[in-house]
């Protein structure tokens, strides 16, 4: 049986803990490595890929491309130095796309 996998991309010290949960971890140190890791992930059966915000910032074009595909779903997570607020923004955008209004922050039609 082949199950879909969960992958995490980010700096080593932020994501190593995920390994204990059986998540596939891809430690990267910069945008180039992250793009390469993303390429690898797309070839595997991965349903959800968590990317630290700090890394996601460096690979915006690739992520845009990825967002057009059905799978994997991209989830932005904070790294060990805290959140940049990108993840929340992404959720807001997705909610708007799905239902046409920003119900999370209550600003209708904005």
């Amino acid at each position: 049986m082949s199950m879909y996998k969960v992958a995490v991309v980010g700096d080593k010290n932020s994501i190593l803990g995920f390994k204990a949960l059986g998540v596939a971890t891809y430690p990267v140190t910069g945008g180039d490595e992250a793009a390469r890791a993303l390429g690898e992930i797309m070839r595997e059966r991965v349903a959800v890929v968590c990317i630290t915000e700090a890394v996601a910032e460096q690979i915006q074009p690739q992520l845009k491309e990825l967002n057009k595909r059905l799978l994997p779903a991209v989830v932005l997570i904070p790294n060990n130095q805290g959140s940049l607020g990108l993840g929340m923004m992404q959720i807001k955008k997705n909610a708007e796309k799905a239902i046409g209004a920003d119900i999370l922050f209550g600003k209708e039609g904005s």
Binding site: D11, K12, N13, Q81
Partner: protein, 334 residues
């Protein structure tokens, strides 16, 4: 008194090598550096300098530490009059490699990047063959027995915790034999403290994980002086542990370490104090003119130094505040 004249040359070499250990000043400069790059550059004027040019980025600092560790073991093996002394300290790398290989084998993965090569006593190729063929006949007897038993147990129940429990126990048993064979009271004292401090930590961790007494008995090493199992029950408050060790050599480690642990729920402080205790013990070697002590002392100083550089670099890369890095740093040997 054993004949220690044969150590004259080796101790001479060690005294010269000791002058190149990082002193507190350099360590402090690394900690105060504004970035990971800057911290690494402080090492430019030290023994680590020669590796710096080959590092593509600061994230590869582990490569430098691996290379230095290898260089020290190769160097010491060349001139130690007693090769058994170095082999003894290298044993942990053999066991580390065996653990990595057995776990990787169980997961059907290849994790060769985690192996430590050319430092241990057993060539990696031989180790890889033993694990992949499930044939441990060429390994030292205690390691072999443990590996065979482990292989059997893992077939019944693939519990990764067994790997550490069984192999650590075998390693310390093997170490105790070899420490005794060296007939060095200094080495024996170090080994006993190492095991005792480890057992106290194991006790705290087992307690924290709410595991039963049977598990504690499996996890404690029998090679120390303090019998944690008799000393204090898992159900008794931690103050009892501190009280009972009040008059032991570990009083200050346990008192402050356990207090901080109760407040913060982490063993970081305990681990630092335990390492400091061991380094302080090792420092006695500086006053020995002929004998194995200076070699042992130097090796421990170097491993301590490598650990400190790792703490600083990981801290700098993750932009930890300087104060927090300082709290984690160990004392230096020099």
């Amino acid at each position: 008194m054993p004949n220690n004249d044969r150590y004259a040359y080796a101790v001479g070499r060690i005294r010269a090598m000791e002058t190149r250990l990082l002193d507190r000043g350099k360590i402090d400069r690394m900690v105060e550096a504004k970035s990971a790059e800057e911290a690494l550059n402080v090492l430019g004027e030290s023994e680590y300098g020669e590796y710096l040019a080959d590092l593509g980025s600061v994230h590869q600092f582990e490569k430098m530490l691996d290379a230095e560790l290898r260089r020290i073991y190769v160097e010491l093996r060349k001139f130690s009059p007693e090769p058994g002394l170095i082999n003894l300290f290298a044993k942990k790398f053999d066991y580390h490699n065996l653990k990595v290989l057995i776990k990787a084998n169980k997961l059907a993965e290849k994790r060769d990047e985690l192996l430590v090569s050319e430092v241990g006593n057993i060539p990696i190729a031989e180790m890889i063959r033993a694990v992949s063929d499930d044939d441990y006949r060429n390994l030292p007897s205690l390691m072999r027995q443990a590996a065979e038993k482990l292989s059997e147990l893992l077939r019944l129940e693939p519990d990764p915790q067994l790997v550490g429990l069984l192999l650590d126990r075998a390693m310390y048993e093997e170490l105790e034999d070899e420490v005794d064979a060296q007939k060095s009271p200094f080495l024996k004292g170090y080994f006993t403290s190492l095991v005792d401090l480890l057992n106290i930590k194991t006790y705290l961790r087992v307690r924290r994980a709410n595991r039963p007494k049977e598990f504690l008995l499996k996890a404690l090493l029998p090679n120390g002086n303090v019998n944690m199992n008799k000393l204090v029950q898992l159900v008794e408050p931690l103050e009892v542990l501190v009280d009972r060790l009040m008059f032991s050599a570990y009083a200050h480690v346990v008192e402050e370490g356990v207090q901080t642990y109760q407040k913060t729920d982490t063993l970081t402080r305990y681990e630092k104090l335990a390492d400091d205790h061991l380094i302080k013990y090792a420092k006695q070697a500086k006053y020995v003119t002929f004998g194995p002590e200076p070699i042992i002392g130097y090796l421990l100083a170097k491993e301590n130094e490598i650990k400190m550089i790792r703490i600083i670099m990981v801290g700098k890369i993750n932009q930890l505040p300087t104060e927090e890095i300082k709290e984690r740093l160990r004392d230096v040997y020099v």
